[in-house]
Structures are given as structure tokens and as C-alpha cells.
């Protein structure tokens, strides 16, 4: 293993240089492969496992190559393996890889059976024990990567690994709602993870809010005016920082209790203005600039991460209209993901349950501490996990939703 120098903060962009185009990596998963992709999107390493003969299967198939059973679901697989051959690809016809080579690839014998082609981490060589991960590349194609079995120095700075993630190190991040403890903690956590700068959006700055002085005083955090419910405000901010925003973390969430019958339309509309149209405004105004900088090297524009209420998956009638806005918000994220995929910008979600804040006073625990959400945001970006579920409530809802959304619907209703 060789010594690596830490990634240097990139110099200012040369405004006269021609914009490097963001090429799309090749790859088109089969339907079976999309199940692998779904697990990879959630950070899980899952392979098909024959329900009849137990064979582990790779590449994705429609029948077991040992017994021809079609009962071959993807299940979490042991991640251990050993590299048995390697190469360094120096010549390729694909524009995406031409700009990123040479590219190290190896053959890995997995402990659970299959032999796979995988990207090799720079600290891994033939004979090495490895830990496999599955992640989505910039085009949403699920890939395997062999990491050192044990943590190595500067491990997350491997270029191939960094390309599978949206690590905040050296990147400039816009966090949308600095009025909340959640937004403030997220800004701090991103800075601690190496973000070059955090722009922290604050609406109605003249109105006092808790923690205002402390957060404004922190080096690396710049308070910027941002009201997601106001198109003008979003456009103005993009005019100021759109050209240097590499990641957007949307922590904004307008939460009010009340169901379909009880909550006024006016109040529900406020929720939708921030939670749904606010996200659409962010996308429409900031994403075109991000697409233009998706191939800018170390601090390329890379992701829009949304902190999404898990009620997006199923209506919680106590907060019925807020749940409706969350569901719409999730749908916007899915649409946006499809629109940005070819351009190399990731759209990610950290799903959360109720947070310990003023608008969830009547909700019994467990509730999430803002710091826990902030840590989850950093982890999702640093590890390149498209959808993660943070806290007991979000994980519980997701598990029940995976089992049967119709059952979850009744389980959530009070």
C-alpha cells in the first residue's frame, strides 16, 4: 500500500475555460438488476439467493443456474471476499471513463460463492481480503466496489470511491433552513466533515430565532437570505451563490398538526408552498447551474439531498395534510432524480420520523435529535446512499411499508 497525500482543496475555477461536459457512464440494468440497484440505493450489499438450493447468484439472473428455480430473491449477502486478479484499464472508448482513468478493476472471489468483477479501491491488490459495497454510479447503475477489509488512511479519498459518493469534503453546500436547530446542526456537521463552505439559508432574517448569534459567528458558515415559498428569494440567492453550490441539503419542512377535515386549506397551502413547491423552486433555479458543473473535478456539483418526512410513504392522519405534502415532496424527488440522472447530479433522501421540536410537542417519543439527523445527512453524502432511513420511527415505517403498504396505512391511523 502506498502513501497517499490528502486531497487538496481545488483552486478557483478558471472562468475562461471550456466547461467539461458531464458524460454519462454506460450501463443498463436488467429488471433483476434493478433489484440489486434498489438495495444499492439504500446502501445494502444484496445478492440473489436461491430459495430452493441456497446458491448465491451473480450477475443478476431470472433463474438459478444450479437448479433453475425462479425463487431467487435478493437478500443481504456477506460482504467478505478476496481479490484473485486485477487490471488497470488505460484505454476505453467510453467518454465517461476516458476522463477518469486509469481505472482499476479486479476479479473478486466472494466468501458466499460468486466470482465478481468489481472496482478496486486504491489500497487493495491481488490477494487482499476485501469488504464489498454496492453503490449507484452517476447514471444510477449499481456497481460493486472492493474496499480494504480494514480502514486505511484517507480511505474515502480514493477517486473511484469518491465518484460513487457525494462526500462533502472540499465542496460548498447550501443548507436551506437555518432557522431550525436541524438546519444549524446540519451545517455544523457538514463543516466538520470537510465542506469548504456552508451557505445557510434563513427566511425573514429580521425575525429572531434560537441559536442565531452562535451560528452566524461560526467560521465557514455564511448566512444567506432564502425563503423557499418565494420564487424571487430563491432566484436572488442563486444569482449570488448558484455558481458555487456543489451540494444542496434541503432541511426545510413546514409542519403543522391537523388532518384533511381539520386543517384549513390556507395552512395546508403554506405547507405545500415550502415542502413541495419550495423543492421545485430550488430544483428549477439551482439545478441547471449544478448540471453545468457536474464534471468539475474534486469539487464538482454532485447532489441534492432532501431530509424527507417518512410520512411521505403513508399518511399519518394526526398530521394528515403535512403527510400529504411529504408524499408530494417524495414524488417531486423521484421525478427530479429521473431528470438529473443523465446529467450526473444525485437526488438523495434521508427519511426521518418526528424531530424533537416545537411542532411535535404532542408526539410521544422516540423523537429524533437534530444532531442525529445531521449525522445521518453527512453519512448519506459521504457514503453515497441514495435513500437512508434514520431513527427508530423511520426505520420502523420503512420495514412495515416494505412488508405491505396497505397494512401500514391502517397501522399508522390513530
Amino acid at each position: 500500500m502506498s502513501e497517499h497525500t490528502p486531497l487538496a482543496r481545488p483552486p478557483r475555477k478558471d472562468p475562461t475555460a471550456v466547461t467539461p461536459l458531464a458524460h454519462r457512464p454506460p450501463g443498463s440494468p436488467s429488471r433483476a438488476g434493478l433489484f440489486f440497484a434498489a438495495h444499492a440505493a439504500r446502501g445494502a450489499f444484496a445478492l440473489q439467493e436461491c430459495g430452493e438450493c441456497g446458491t448465491r447468484i451473480w450477475p443478476p439472473r431470472d433463474a438459478c443456474p444450479k437448479c433453475l428455480s425462479a425463487d431467487i430473491p435478493f437478500t443481504p449477502a456477506p460482504t467478505g471476499g478476496e481479490v484473485i486478479a486485477e487490471t488497470t484499464i488505460r484505454v476505453t472508448h467510453e467518454l465517461f471513463y476516458r476522463g477518469r482513468g486509469p481505472w482499476r478493476v479486479g476479479t473478486v472471489q466472494l466468501d458466499c460463492g460468486p466470482v465478481v468483477t468489481a472496482n478496486l479501491h486504491r489500497d487493495v491488490t491481488t490477494g487482499a481480503r476485501v469488504r464489498m459495497i454496492a453503490r449507484l454510479d452517476l447514471a444510477g447503475t449499481p456497481l460493486m466496489m472492493a474496499l480494504p477489509a480494514k480502514e486505511t488512511p484517507l480511505m474515502d479519498e480514493d477517486p473511484a470511491l469518491r465518484g460513487l459518493t457525494a462526500h462533502p469534503r472540499h465542496r460548498r453546500v447550501l443548507v436551506t433552513d437555518g432557522r431550525s436547530a436541524l438546519g444549524q446542526e446540519t451545517a455544523r456537521a457538514l463543516l466538520k466533515a470537510g465542506a469548504a463552505k456552508v451557505f445557510l439559508g434563513v427566511a425573514d432574517a429580521w425575525k429572531p430565532f434560537p441559536g442565531a448569534e452562535r451560528i452566524a459567528a461560526e467560521e465557514g458558515i455564511e448566512i444567506v437570505p432564502l425563503d423557499l415559498s418565494d420564487t424571487r428569494s430563491v432566484v436572488d440567492l442563486a444569482g449570488a451563490i448558484g455558481g458555487k453550490t456543489d451540494i444542496i441539503v434541503n432541511t426545510a419542512d413546514h409542519v403543522r398538526p391537523g388532518g384533511v377535515m381539520g386543517q384549513s386549506v390556507a395552512l395546508a397551502r403554506e405547507s405545500f408552498e415550502t415542502n413541495v413547491f419550495g423543492l421545485q423552486r430550488l430544483a428549477q433555479v439551482f439545478a441547471p447551474g449544478m448540471l453545468g458543473r457536474a464534471n468539475d473535478g474534486v469539487n464538482n456539483a454532485v447532489a441534492i439531498l432532501d431530509v424527507t418526512p417518512v410520512a411521505a410513504l403513508s399518511n399519518w392522519n394526526v398530521y394528515g395534510m403535512h403527510s400529504a405534502s411529504a408524499a408530494a415532496r417524495l414524488s417531486v424527488l423521484q421525478g427530479l432524480r429521473a431528470e438529473l440522472r443523465d446529467g450526473g447530479i444525485r437526488v438523495m433522501s434521508v427519511f426521518i420520523g418526528p424531530v424533537e421540536d416545537d411542532w411535535h410537542q404532542a408526539v410521544p417519543p422516540p423523537k429524533l435529535a437534530p444532531k442525529a439527523v445531521a449525522a445521518a445527512v453527512v453519512k448519506a453524502l459521504a457514503e453515497g446512499i441514495e435513500e437512508s432511513f434514520t431513527g427508530d420511527v423511520a426505520r420502523d415505517v420503512f420495514a412495515r411499508w416494505s412488508a405491505d403498504p396497505k397494512v401500514l396505512e391502517r397501522e399508522l391511523q390513530r
Partner: protein, 390 residues
Amino acid sequence: MRARSVRSYEDVVIAVPVSVPYVRYSQESAHWWIAAALRGLVKGAGITPGDIDGFTVSSFSLAPDTAVGLTQHLGLCPRFLEHIPMGGASGVVAARRAARAVQAGDAEIVACVAGDTNHIDSFRSLLGSFSRFALEASYPYGAGGPNASFALLTDGYMRRYGATREDFGRICVAQRANALTYPQAIMKKPLSLEEYMSARPIADPVHLFDCVMPVAGAEAFLVMHEDTAKERGLPYARLAGAIERHNAFPEDPLQMRGGWELDVADLWSAAGCRPDAVDLVQTYDDYPVIVMMQIEDLGLCGKGEAAEFLRGHDLTNAGTLPHNTCGGQLSAGQAGAAGGFIGFVEALRQVTGQNLAAPVAGARRALVSGFGMVNYDRGVCTAAAVLEAA
């Protein structure tokens, strides 16, 4: 392994070797190239297209057509039709299929054709859509294509058996010498071992001269009854034996052997000779590590001993083990699926004395081997045949 009792190909012969001269890039379609090869067969045999009542086609660049579309496009009316998508194994497999059809009376004269065009950027399109497994489990990993897949196999083979780059280099250098005697070879300049060794790396340990040059071209031959060939005064060769196998040894972590190993006893039993009784050998040579694998699995030497074995031989047409006598794909070019025919057609020329490349003295018996389709991490199709002068 004991040989099975497989019916021989007696009374069936192979005739009329056709190689349409290759070009690096072509404006024409695969249909055009296949038509040119068919025309070569018709002219060479002195027959009309209507006499061809059997037709096999191998091509990567025919889409959206298959052999079916070609019959109408080219005005053929066969009663035996095969599309053989087996890449480097296509030649031997086509001969096997055609020979059985003729033997059974399903066809009188079978035209076996392989051809592909090569447009600017068509190689990338081919790699990017090669197979479902490649699409999702190998190509997205650096998009190295076959260079990368074979680099991994080469790396594994070198580690396991101690073969060196010089060993691979000697194969490539000898083939270049052979190619210089073949007017239709794409490569026209001599290649020295020093040049081979100092070539730029493509996907370590594969370097430039381990890789074939994608070109446009076509290859073809006819299969018919011996009587038919005699009546028409055509020089011919017998198919003394032929084997094929697909997806052998899936449990091997890295491909160090091919399906030949399962059937090699049948091949030599049918041919009625030992491996060292052949006068020349045509292997599938996209990449030299595969040459070594074939030399071993077809019984010319033991497993892992090919490097040592080949060090003791001169592989040129005048040498002790003439190998890929027109330069193979490494020096003549790889015309897509025609790469699965080039060795077969060249062997046919050599044993029937219709040479374009330097003749191998006293060539009567040739071993031809095919290897095709890196569907994911290894070649899936393997085949081999022994061609014998009449």
C-alpha cells in the same frame, strides 16, 4: 477421458475458401460484406446462388436482420438455415452444423458465411450492448471491453503458471511474420519482440500488440458431399473430427481452461491421430493467453505448460509448429464474427494447396480451434476441428 462414439463426418467435405480482403473502416453494411463472400463462393465453385440450398450466417453487425432477412436480401432460397451467434467459435460450429445437414440430406450445398462491417464508433456500440451480463456486470466497470476481461484472465494465468509477457510476445511476433506473407493482412510491418515488449499498456498486463484490430471483412466456405465436390472439380478437405462445448467449468473462479478439455478425447479419437500429428495449428488468438489455453486443452501439452512448450517451437509457416499461418486476427485483423472463421478458412487453403499466405510444407492435417463470446467474465463457446487433405 474416454472418447464417446460419435458418428463421423464421412462423405462430407469442405471446399472453396473465401476471404474478402479486410479494411480498417468500411462505409458498407454487414449485408454487403456477406454478399461479397457469397459471391466469392459462387464464383469459386462455379455454381449459381440457386444451387445453395443451405446457409449459415455469423455476424455482430447485421441488426435488425438475422439470417432470415439475409435470405430475402440476397435472393437465397435455402432449405437449411442457421444463424450462429457464437463469435470466435462460429467457424467450427458452422462446419459441424452444415456437415450434419449434408450428411442427413437436409441440404446439398451449404454456404457458411461470417462477415461484419466496422464503422467509426461501431466497436463502442458493440461493446456497450454485447450481452445482458456484460451490460450490467462488466462494462460499467471502467468500460474496458474484452481488453479488460482478458487482462484479468491473463493476470490470473501468469500468476498461476508463470507465463511471461515474452512468452505471449513470441506468439504475436511469429504471427506477424506469417502475416507478412499474406497479402490480405491489415498489418504490413514486421514486429520485433522489443517492439512488442515496449508497446503501451492497454489494460495491464495486456499491451497493444496483445490486442486485435477491429476491421471490416468476411470469410466463407462451402460444405457438400464428396461426390459433389468431385463432380465440380473442387479441391476439398475432410472434416476428420469436430467438437463444441458451451459454458464449461462455471465453477472455475478464473477461466484457466475451456470446454475443449471435456471433449478433446472425442476429437482425437475421431481424427484417428495424436495431437502432435498435425501439420499446422490455427487457434483463436484474441488474446495470446487464449492461444496458450487452447494449446493445452487440445492436448498439445499439459495444463500450464504452454509457455514452456511454445518456447521449444518456431511458430512461423516454415517452423516446427506453424501457427495462425495467415497472421491470425492479431495481424490480419478481427472482422467481427469472421474472426471465428479466419483460422478455418486459412487451414482449408493450406491443406488444399490454395494458398494466399506462405504454404506450410506438406500440410495435410490442420487443427483449428475456436473460442467465443465473453458473455460476462469468460469465453463461453469453445470448438475445435481437424481438417484433413483428401
